[in-house]
Every structure is written in structure tokens, then in C-alpha cells.
Amino acid sequence: MIVAQGFFRHILRPRTPSIFANSSGFGDASSAFAPSTTVPQTTIDVKNCTGTLMFTRGKRSRGGGETQQKQKMVNMLSLISPRRKQPRRIKLSYEDLLRHRTVHRAWQLVVRTKRQERRLELQKQYFKMKHACDELRKTSQILYQSAMEKPSPIRFPMEYRIPTVTPPRRIWNATWKPPAEEKKRKTL
């Protein structure tokens, strides 16, 4: 895509007659200041243009492939730019601001509580595991050493599934059977 510096200026700046030196003027000068509820403004006649071309979003331009491509590019760019699409900035009254802040703080509190609970649960699980390993070590050194074996890297099975908001069509495969090739399985 070959885009000159001036190309962007034409599209993204507000349109006023005096700025653009090279343009051949506006087809309809009054349309630049018309209220926004009317149909999108007409463009200048492309074949009369002497300098850089003027493009507006949403139009179908006459001419060869190049101008059509540029038109498509203008349409795409207009989607990315916030020009005339941004709503008004939210200005909260004092009471509304207080309400918003209260909600935010309550949420932060809830998240914090959840995080702490999860941390505590993991801590309990870890110490339970540690206690079990200590007892195993006291009981049998061999069993302990075999229990300390870890696969490197840890591999997760293909069937591992992340919880979704709603369940799948078949919630549980109750009729699963082991594949025929696996005769002897070393571990679970």
C-alpha cells in the first residue's frame, strides 16, 4: 500500500476549505458544515481533480483498480479511527462518582478475599502433602524415593478439559473402553 503523507491528512483532519492547497475544492461547500444526520456528503468529482485525490469512507469511486483499492483502504482506515464514532465522555455527578467508587472497592474486596482463600487452601494442601511425604520417609525409604520421582517435563493428558460456562452436548462419556493396543499399563 503506497500512502503519501498527505493522504492521511486529507482523511483524518476536519474538513475546512482553506487548508488543502492542492485540492480542487469541495463539490458542495455547504455540506462540510451540514448537520450530521443527513446522508454522507458527496465527494469531489474524481476526474476533475488535478492534485491528490479526495476519498470519503463508504463511497464507491469511479475509475481504475488503483482508485478502487485506495477507496477500500479509506473504508478500512475509517473503521480504525475514532472519528465521529466516539460517544461523549462520561461525566459523573458527585453522588454517581461515590456509587462507582463504592462498587469498585467492593469488587476489589471480593477479589482479595477470593485470592486469600485460594492461597490458604493451596497452603493447606501443600502442608498436607509435606506431612505425608515426611511420614513416608520415616516408614520406608524405598517407597519415599519412588514417590519423589517426577517426570521431566510434566505431561498432561490430551483429555484434559477446561471448564466452560455451559456443559457440552455429551457431558460424560460413561461407555469409555480402553483402546485395544494398550495391553499393559504401567501407571494409572
Partner: protein, 319 residues
């Protein structure tokens, strides 16, 4: 028998071999290797237990057992509290208020039939609800002070083909509450989809019947191997499971009653965590299992006695 010189990957095989050797020597009547091993072990380790793999039985010894905490992970996300759902609703409304105006000229080009149909269906935006001194601020048929409501035109169902009707058919999400929930079927794995379900097994006993499955660790076996054997012996082969780790997650010990103390004085159970992904637990004959249930953590308390619950509770997850 120190295994420090043996590479990690071969240690379990080493243990199996040692067990084989011990078994063969015992058969021949030569107890020297077996007893020497146990003597060294008992001197190294604290005197609380004398029993280990391949040891001779002792009335004060504990039976070493490997247990199984088999669980079914949650299928759906956790339930939202009323505050959480209200907060998420508030945030989505804020986002809609701040969203850019729908670029109608791009999706419904001017002059097309689709554009005409679309425009006909849109709600009228005239900015009526404003104060006397406010000018209407409407750009691209959107009042800039509020969120935009875009209404899609109804599809002409008659003119559509079957294929496109399938593609555009409304997605109906399935219910999070299943039949198993309604019937309170504790043997079903489709119950309580947002919680973790743990397998509890009932033995033919009057007291302390419900517990997690467990089996004695035999000669030459590791905890993991015993757990695998236990799983097949107790519930059959038709279960797709995955052992999370060789490391025990929980430990429980208890003494037998004086009348039951024949070979061992009590039992030490080391529980390994495992997950089930598919299949069904079917109690096998000869396993001694009378009944089973898939329960959540808080439901376990109703089945199991206090001492056991105190041992196991911390190893399980609430969600």
C-alpha cells in the same frame, strides 16, 4: 538399600527387581538378604514402625497401604454470586455506553437492499430526552450521550436454504443443572458440574464403612503401582484416569482394635491423587466394595467419620 547411585528413571524398576530377588530368596529358604535389608532400614529410620516392603510381620508393625483420591474436575465454571453477576452486568453496560458507533456504511453499503432493510428496523434516535438547553448530539444515528441499540433485521427464513438456516440457527446453551442433579443420583458423574467430585467407597462393615479406596502395598510395589492395581481391582478397566503425581497428597493412620490385631497393629495409608476423564466406576466382585458415591468435599463429611475427615479435609479442594 540406598538408591542414590541409581538414575531416577530406573529407581522404580530397581525396587521391583529387589522385590523379585527378595521373593526368590525367601522361596529358597534363605532369609539372609531379606532380613539384612530390613535390619539396616530399621536402624536408619526412626523406631516408630518396623514394617516395610519385604519385612517380616510384627504385632507392633503398621500395614503400609496406598490409597486413591480419584476426582472428577469441574465441567462448568463456578456459580456467580449475586454481587458478581450484578458487577459484571454493570461493567458490560459501561462498556456499551463507551462503545464506538456502529459503522453502518461498512457493513450495509449505501444503496443496497440490505441497507434499506437495516435502516427500516433501527429505533428512532431523536434525542428527545434532553434538557432545554442541550442541543441534540446525534452522529450516525447515535445519540452520543448514551449507548447505541443496534437491531438486526429478521432473516427471511423461507428464502434461506437448509444449510444457511443451520449456520444462523440460534445457539441454545445447555443447562448447567443436569438430570442427575434433579434426581440426586450420587453414583452419577454428571451431578454438580461446577464442583469437584471425589470417589467414596463403602466396605462391608458396620463402623467406618465409607472411605477412599485403599490397598496394601505388596512386595516390590511402589505406591503408584499399588494405586493402579487398586483402581482396576476395585472399579474395573473402563476408566480413563490420570495419576497427577507419584507423591502422596494425604496421609492417614489408625490402629486396629485389639481383636483384629493379627499380623499388623494398625495401618498407614498414603493417598495418591488421580483424575478421571471418562468411563464409569463399576464395583468389582472380590473387592469387598458394597457401594460407591461421587461426592463433593462438603458432602464427604456426611459419609465419613470425624477422625478420617480431619485427616483428609485439607488435601481436597472446595471448588
Amino acid at each position: 538399600m540406598a538408591l542414590r547411585h541409581v538414575p531416577r528413571q530406573l529407581r522404580s524398576q530397581c525396587i521391583w527387581l529387589a522385590g523379585q530377588v527378595a521373593r526368590s530368596t525367601r522361596r529358597k529358604g534363605n532369609r539372609s538378604i531379606g532380613t539384612a535389608a530390613t535390619e539396616t532400614e530399621s536402624t536408619i529410620l526412626p523406631s516408630s514402625t518396623g514394617a516395610s516392603v519385604g519385612a517380616s510381620p510384627d504385632s507392633g508393625a503398621f500395614k503400609i497401604m496406598s490409597g486413591l483420591i480419584l476426582c472428577r474436575q469441574p465441567v462448568v465454571t463456578p456459580e456467580l454470586t449475586p454481587f458478581e453477576s450484578a458487577y459484571y452486568n454493570y461493567q458490560s453496560e459501561l462498556q456499551k455506553r463507551l462503545m464506538w458507533t456502529f459503522p453502518k456504511w461498512f457493513y450495509y453499503p449505501e444503496g443496497t437492499l440490505a441497507e434499506r432493510q437495516f435502516s427500516a428496523v433501527q429505533p428512532v434516535v431523536d434525542g428527545k430526552d434532553r434538557t432545554e438547553f442541550e442541543k441534540p448530539d446525534i452522529v450516525f444515528n447515535r445519540d452520543r450521550r448514551s449507548k447505541q441499540e443496534v437491531v438486526l433485521p429478521e432473516r427471511d427464513v423461507e428464502r434461506e436454504s437448509e444449510e444457511s438456516a443451520k449456520i444462523y440457527a440460534k445457539i441454545v446453551p445447555r443447562s448447567r443443572i443436569t438430570e442427575a442433579d434433579k434426581k440426586n443420583n450420587f453414583r452419577s458423574l454428571e451431578r454438580k458440574l461446577d464442583r469437584t467430585l471425589y470417589l467414596l467407597v463403602k466396605k462391608d462393615r458396620e463402623e467406618n464403612a465409607w472411605k477412599f479406596p485403599a490397598a496394601e502395598v505388596l512386595d516390590g510395589e511402589t505406591l503408584a503401582r499399588t494405586a493402579a492395581r487398586l483402581l482396576h481391582e476395585a472399579g474395573g478397566l473402563n476408566m480413563n484416569t490420570w495419576l497427577v503425581s507419584n507423591t502422596p497428597a494425604a496421609y492417614h493412620h489408625y490402629s486396629y482394635k485389639p481383636e483384629d490385631k493379627e499380623k499388623y497393629g494398625g495401618a498407614k495409608i498414603f493417598y495418591l491423587k488421580s483424575r478421571i476423564f471418562a468411563g464409569t466406576f463399576v464395583p468389582q466382585k472380590g473387592s469387598g466394595i458394597v457401594d460407591y458415591a461421587w461426592v463433593t468435599k462438603d458432602e464427604i463429611q456426611d459419609y465419613v467419620h470425624k477422625g478420617y475427615w480431619a485427616s483428609m479435609a485439607n488435601a481436597l479442594s472446595r471448588q
